[in-house]
């Protein structure tokens, strides 16, 4: 017997063409202008133009290539421009197994990124070491850098990687503007030994 449907049950607000429309933030609209507060708009702008850094190490990297290709296009969500230099990127996507030899490299790349920065651990190996419980594999990149979203899978399907990026977008949208200056964030960085 088929299991009952659990997702996608609610009517989405669509217009006549069936396109899902996002709602406007609260603010004051006038003739040719719209005034609102920064924290409602900055998150919206940031989340739809993420510049990811694909730190692709192994098999998850190939699934990422499939995600960037035309069938599961990640560019639809604004992440079209991949940068390979951490100085210009917001989102560090660590995809694949990170060995202990590679750990300092991940950390260095993370340190070179400018705030605000987010980290997504794609795949079981980046999240927790995956199937490789051996002496040479770092059991999860959260041993060296703070991680925002974990995407499980070995390798995760492209839909799962997109879901991870959408969660990052939610985090970015809802992040308070001064989060990076707060005590709790500083404490998090201290716990990783990052100044």
């Amino acid at each position: 017997m088929a299991r009952p449907v659990r997702f996608n049950l609610h009517e989405k607000s669509t217009n006549d063409w069936g396109i899902n429309q996002a709602s406007m933030p609260e603010g004051h609209m006038g003739d040719g202008f719209f005034a609102t507060s920064f924290d409602k708009v900055v998150g919206l702008a940031r989340k739809n133009s993420i510049w990811p850094l694909p730190f692709a190490t192994s098999c998850c990297g190939i699934e990422f290539m499939a995600t960037m290709a035309s069938t599961y296009d990640l560019g639809r969500f604004g992440a079209e421009r991949l940068g390979f230099t951490p100085r210009q990127c917001d989102l560090l996507m660590v995809m694949g197994t990170i060995a202990k030899k590679m750990g300092p490299v991940v950390r260095q790349v993370y340190l070179q990124m400018a705030e605000p920065r987010w980290v997504i651990a794609v795949g079981a190996c980046a999240s927790s070491g995956g199937i490789f419980d051996s002496y040479s594999v770092l059991q999860g990149i959260d041993q060296v850098v703070p991680v925002d979203v974990y995407v499980p899978g070995c390798p995760p399907r492209p839909e799962a990687i997109i879901d991870g990026v959408l969660r990052i977008q939610d985090l970015i949208h809802n992040e308070p503007l001064r989060r990076r200056n707060e005590e709790s964030y500083k404490a998090l960085m201290e716990s990783y030994g990052i100044e």
């Binding site: 202990k100 030899k101 419980d133 051996s134 002496y135 040479s136 594999v137 059991q139």
Partner: protein, 168 residues
């Protein structure tokens, strides 16, 4: 004239006599064992001889037999004659207290990194190797991980719950 295992064995025993031991043919590949210091002589004979012509080094690796006292590390060479399509396996044994073996890099350039990998995993010291450093593990590692006495998992982990793994 096709190169059969009998011809190979005949030629080798003709040249080297009784020093080659442990002749066997497991699953089709002729295997024999040479004394440690004769490995280069046998390899160059196999390379230079026109009828044998084993000029391709397929693989170089090692095995650790902790039970064989005095001969714990076994270095295995897989050779291939591409023209006559015949494979050969040569083994040599070295004690774990003094694992020195002459390097084959002068005959086969592919032995370079394969010997570094063998050194990295088992600690076999290849005399005359141009650059005997660790190739796959971190340079600071101070033990040879693939020897049987060392465990697979990282022993410094504190987050693994032994109860869940049946060890608690």
């Amino acid at each position: 004239m096709t190169l059969t295992s009998d011809i190979v064995r005949e030629k080798l025993t003709e040249k080297f006599g009784d020093s080659l031991t442990e002749w066997a043919q497991p699953h089709g590949i002729l295997t024999f064992c040479v004394p440690r210091d004769m490995n280069l002589k046998v390899l160059s004979f196999l390379y230079d001889d026109e009828s044998l012509a084993f000029r391709f080094l397929t693989d170089l690796t090692a095995v650790h037999y902790p039970d064989r006292a005095g001969e714990e590390l076994c270095v295995v060479y897989h050779l291939h004659n591409l023209v006559a399509n015949r494979r050969l396996r040569m083994k040599l044994y070295a004690p774990v207290t003094q694992p020195d073996v002459y390097t084959a890099t002068r005959i086969f350039s592919s032995a370079n990194w394969m010997e570094r990998e063998t050194y990295d995993f088992y600690g076999v010291h290849f005399i005359g190797h141009p650059n005997l450093k660790r190739v796959l593990n971190v340079d600071e590692m101070d033990y040879f991980p693939l020897r049987k006495e060392f465990p697979l998992e990282d022993q410094t982990r504190i987050d693994k719950d032994d109860e869940m793994f049946g060890r608690g």
